[in-house]
């Protein structure tokens, strides 16, 4: 075995990373297919539909909105509602639509290039509410679950969820100083921000948010009861999100089986690839067809739907040992132009020494991200924030 051991020992070194970024280069076929996203809202909000076009993989475009289309919601009772463009590619109804449960509705789009697209008819669907959002500690972090139930036991339910997280950020240091600038805008000295020397809370309290980027689906197809208990998102231990106070709002859409399959295929095509036994990607079929040019690819699944919302808060005190911390050292800077210019990466916190005349001789300072939370979020407090 003597000869073998060294060989085995250097094996791990020889295995290199096997997954690498890849650009096939020439793949750039004609594209620009219509993408329709949204739902015919049977709830108490207006209906809003977004129209865009697919872009080439290599194009560095966030989204290519479809302009100057005419969009209507049609009922099979021949009643229709027009949507108007409120921002590029967004078409909305001014008021919530008053829909009839006995009527089926569809979306009709006439694009500027003269093509007509319609979605399949669908009717108002029963939409269970979210019973609760629960969470528990898992692997040190926090795992958030959505729970609901549908009393109709014979009906299999299909859901899609989206969520928005908001968390409060606090600066490490509360500052009552600011730089005074000369006419050319360069700082020359620090002065109190407010005459009463009170601290600036607008740099101290901030809020950051993020939205779900993955498609979250669930169904009770394989369950004996129409009950949902599914993980929605996981917050890693020590994350800033739970540094002070965290809130998540989950929005739930009850889907038809077809819509569920559409989102599932989209998820498989774009999120669940690359492992050895994952299904191969394939084309995506929604419920929208082009009537003037049958066979044209259209992306989207539009049906009558309602949004159910629920929000919870989690305080840092509820997660003992969370361990969020930020390294913020303090330096002392003389209150003169030269030393301020030399230490421009710092922001002033509070006076340290005073001159005989009471003016500030030197002051403590720390990195910008430690003093001004606006570098990491917005200081506009959400209306629902309890603190």
């Amino acid at each position: 075995m003597k000869r073998v051991l060294p060989i085995i020992a250097f094996l791990p070194v020889l295995f290199a990373g096997c997954k690498e970024m890849y650009d096939p280069g020439i793949i750039n076929p004609e594209t620009g297919y219509l993408v329709v996203e949204g739902f015919i809202n049977s709830g108490s909000e207006p209906t809003s539909i977004s129209l865009s076009r697919t872009t080439k993989l290599t194009e560095n475009i966030f989204s290519k909105p479809e302009l100057n289309a005419s969009v209507t919601v049609e009922g099979d009772d021949n009643k229709s509602f027009s949507l108007v463009s409120t921002s590029p590619g967004i078409y909305s109804s001014a008021q919530p639509l008053t829909l009839n449960t006995a009527v089926q509705y569809r979306l009709k789009i006439n694009t500027a290039n003269g093509n007509e697209y319609v979605s399949a008819y669908s009717s108002i669907k029963h939409s269970p509410v979210i019973d609760s959002i629960t969470w528990k500690r898992e692997n040190g972090g926090v795992q958030i679950y959505v729970n609901n139930h549908d009393d109709n036991p014979n009906e299999k339910s299909y859901y899609r969820w989206t969520f928005q997280e908001i968390w409060e950020i606090r600066s490490t240091y509360l500052s009552n100083l600011k730089y005074e600038t000369n006419t050319s805008g360069n700082p020359v000295r620090v002065i109190y921000k407010y005459p009463d020397q009170s601290p600036d809370y607008s740099m101290y309290y901030c809020w950051q948010n993020s939205r779900s980027a993955n498609i979250l689906l669930g169904s009770t197809e394989r369950l004996s009861q129409n009950v949902i208990y599914l993980p929605i998102t996981h917050i890693q231990q020590g994350s800033i999100k739970l540094g002070v106070l965290y809130s998540i709002e989950i929005k739930q859409h009850a889907l038809s089986k077809n819509a569920y399959d559409f989102y599932l295929q989209m998820k498989k095509n774009t999120e669940q690839l690359g492992s050895i036994f994952d299904p191969q990607p394939s084309d995506l079929r929604g419920n929208i067809t082009c009537t003037s040019n049958p066979g044209e690819i259209v992306i989207g699944h539009v049906e009558v739907n309602k949004e159910e919302n629920k929000r919870i808060f989690i305080y840092n005190s509820q997660v003992p040992g969370w361990g969020y911390s930020r390294f913020c050292d303090i330096v002392s800077i003389a209150n003169n132009e030269r030393s301020i210019i030399e230490n421009l990466q710092y922001m002033p916190i509070a006076p340290e020494e005073f001159n005989l005349d009471g003016s500030i001789k030197s002051f403590s300072a720390s990195a910008g991200t430690c003093v001004d939370c606006q570098t990491r979020g917005s200081n506009i407090k959400p209306s629902f924030w309890p603190n």
Partner: protein, 921 residues
Amino acid sequence: MKKGWPISIAKLILSLCLMMQGMFASSQVERPKLSAQFDSLPIENALLTIENQTNYRFYYDKTAFDTTKVSLNANNISISDALESILVNTGLNYSIDVSEKNVFITKGLLVQTTLPSNFYKSDTVQNQSSAVESAMLFKPGSDDKEVILLGRGDESGVNRVTISGTVRDEKTGEPIISASVYIQNPNIGVITDQFGTFTIMLPKGRHTLNVQSIGMEDIERQILVKGESSLNIVMQSRILTLRNVIISTQKTNNIRNTQLGVQKLDIKTIKQVPVVFGEADLLRVVATMPGVKTVGEAATGLNIRGGSVDQNLMLFNDANVYNPAHFFGMFSAFNPEVVKEVEVFKSSVPAKYGGRLSSVVNITGREGNKKNFAGSAGIGLLTSRLTLEGPIIKDKSSFIVAGRSTYANWLLNLLPDQYKNSKADFYDANLLLNHEFNKNNTVYLTGYLSNDRFNLNSDTFFHYKNFNYNLKWKHTFNNRLYSLINIGQDKYEYKITSERNPVNAYALSFNVRQSYFNAHFNYFINSKHTLEFGLNTLLYKLLPGDYVPVGSESLAAPLHMPFEQALESALYISDRFNITKDLTLDAGIRYSMFNYLGPYEVNNYPQGVPKRVENMTGTTIYAKNKIIHTYHGPEIRIGIRQMLSNTMSLKAGYNSLRQYIHMLSNTAAMAPTDIWKLSDPNISPQFGDQFSLGLYKNLKSNTIELSVEGYYKRIKDYLDFKSGAILVLNSHIETEVAKTQGTAYGIEFLAKKLTGKLNGWVGYTYSRILLKADQAETGEFLNNGKIYPANYDKPHDLTLVSNYRFSHRFSTSFNATYSTGRPITLPIGKFRYAEGERTLYGPRNGHRIPDYFRMDFSMNIEGNHKVHQRTHNSWTIGIYNLTGRKNPYSVYYVSENGVINGYKLSIFGSAIPFVNFNIRF
């Protein structure tokens, strides 16, 4: 010529030779001097140089020494000094005969140029009395091109003359009994009597005289018969192991038999080929043959001549192994220690086989040692293994038990991220028994078990298992008729469990079980006809899915999908008909029938309407064992061979096959979650037929085989998945798959050399497999009804497998393989949807991943070959993927945090060294 000598004997002979050489040297007469300078010259050229300077003629086996190179720097030295100088280190010997004209160069054995002084005594007497031409002597080593004159021309006008003589063993001088002495044209032959003598009447003229005897080197000489003569023949014993004899009988099989597209590999060849982690891997080696492909390194499923992986009948001693893969499909689940050989039928499938469309991979197990207990143990990076074998009743019955197990979890850390946080456990076990009741009755028992359990980067555990056993009885009625009766059961099952979320915790199981009975008869009617006939019957019982909750909190609703049952039966007969000496026809017909049996609830769809859920018009319930639906039809198996010369033949074939069980998959590689589905009223069987044509040529006394084969194949009703297909726990699977029509064609070139120091093969294939799904019944045209390539369509494929044996103890192997990248479906655009950037996929399999190229190298080191030692050991050390090329397995695009990123995944992205140790006892 002299492969496989037991080393001890070779050594003995060598030392004898050296002694004798010394003897000859001392009895030198004055020999001519010569001068020459050459360096690393092929021996043929070197000897020619010497021939030109002297009167000597050299006799040697050109093919055996074709790779030998020699050097000489001689200035006016004697021929013996020159020869000693050039032959040093080559292992070759020389001897100069008494006439000082002929020099024999041999390996190991020294040609005796003198005979015992009394050797010709009796002949001399005979010569004097009969007053015929003195006896001529045939002996090995003389030039077979030289024409030997027999007798003085006589004026009697008689056409036929008598030649008589003896055949003796060169070494012992004993007469050789039952040696055959014959000429072929016209066909005249005799056998020597108990004293080794013979008398043969030959027409005057020129003939090729053959002398053959078991255990002796064949002699073939040109003779010119002019008158009565006596002839003394000396034969040289052939010291070979049994295995070499088998090879020599197979030498011309490739050109002589009527089958096309058949490849046979023995385990010795398989073990030489370097593979990843150094585990001798049968299916990986099969995949190096032309026309056999896999989708990549994470897949052992074979795609043979455009067939999908489920279209291969994978037989191990007649047991059908459904999923012969271990370790995420990275290597095959056949233990090389119990395998004797593997035979792949890519085109001509014998009538006795059926049920799969593309090929039969027939793996034959070894028989245990009937004389002594023996065993072997091995340790490698991936597995450790133990094999025991021995007699149960000496010379009558024997057994082999073998097992392999893994400790490979540590390797997972070295694989791509896709395998991180994974675990893998597997083992396989084999039991092979045989017992000979008497000369006419032998029974064989085969048991096979393979078991895998793993999780792949998630909390979901996969568990799958193959379990097979069968009993075979071979009965010989008489010299011309024997039968094989075979009964057994094959089982494949998998189970998926997920327990992390207590509310959704579940276990899902699937299994397929088949019980079979086969009766096969082989009847040799006469030299023109050999008949094979028999019947197969196979009862399937398939559990499509059983879904149960795990744990008390789980709300998973139990779902027990009903069993499916079917009976597949076939009758077959085939005749091998030697029409003329050169033309042979092998014609067979197999009539297969498939009965789908109740109890079952069948979904109904109106005629002519796409099979979609919304078109379903209810179900029909059938009672137990009621025949719900029957499919049947003939399968034609025809092969015809025309010999163009002794070493060249032309073959043509037509084969059709039917397949009644289908694997449904939407993954690239064969996954442990793939389910099998029986044909039912809504899913028709697959049908395939193939035309093929081949030209075969052997060179250098059948040591080099060349072949080129072309084929055109049609596949009907292959099942491809629809976009977003749900294949598991689906009671209406017919709505998720599309009947697909395929066309495959290709041309395969192969050059193979299986003997000599340098052996191996090089193959090139150009092939395509194109699919089309445009049947209205499907309700959805895959790829808009346009033709698309299958995901294993790799048009160009060039593979070299080679082994060079430096000595009996040391050999090296080298592989190189290149193939076109396989097709994948790539995005044709991106868009924003559901808060993220998404991709739009274009034509199915419309693009290709980069080409594949890999080289491997290994060294096989055997311990010493002393006969009397307890154990023999061997090492294999090598490097897989020498160049460290990151061969892509797949290219994919994912939306990560809302942004599209493209990735290329390689399973083995670097050079991978391996080491393997084996010990025999």
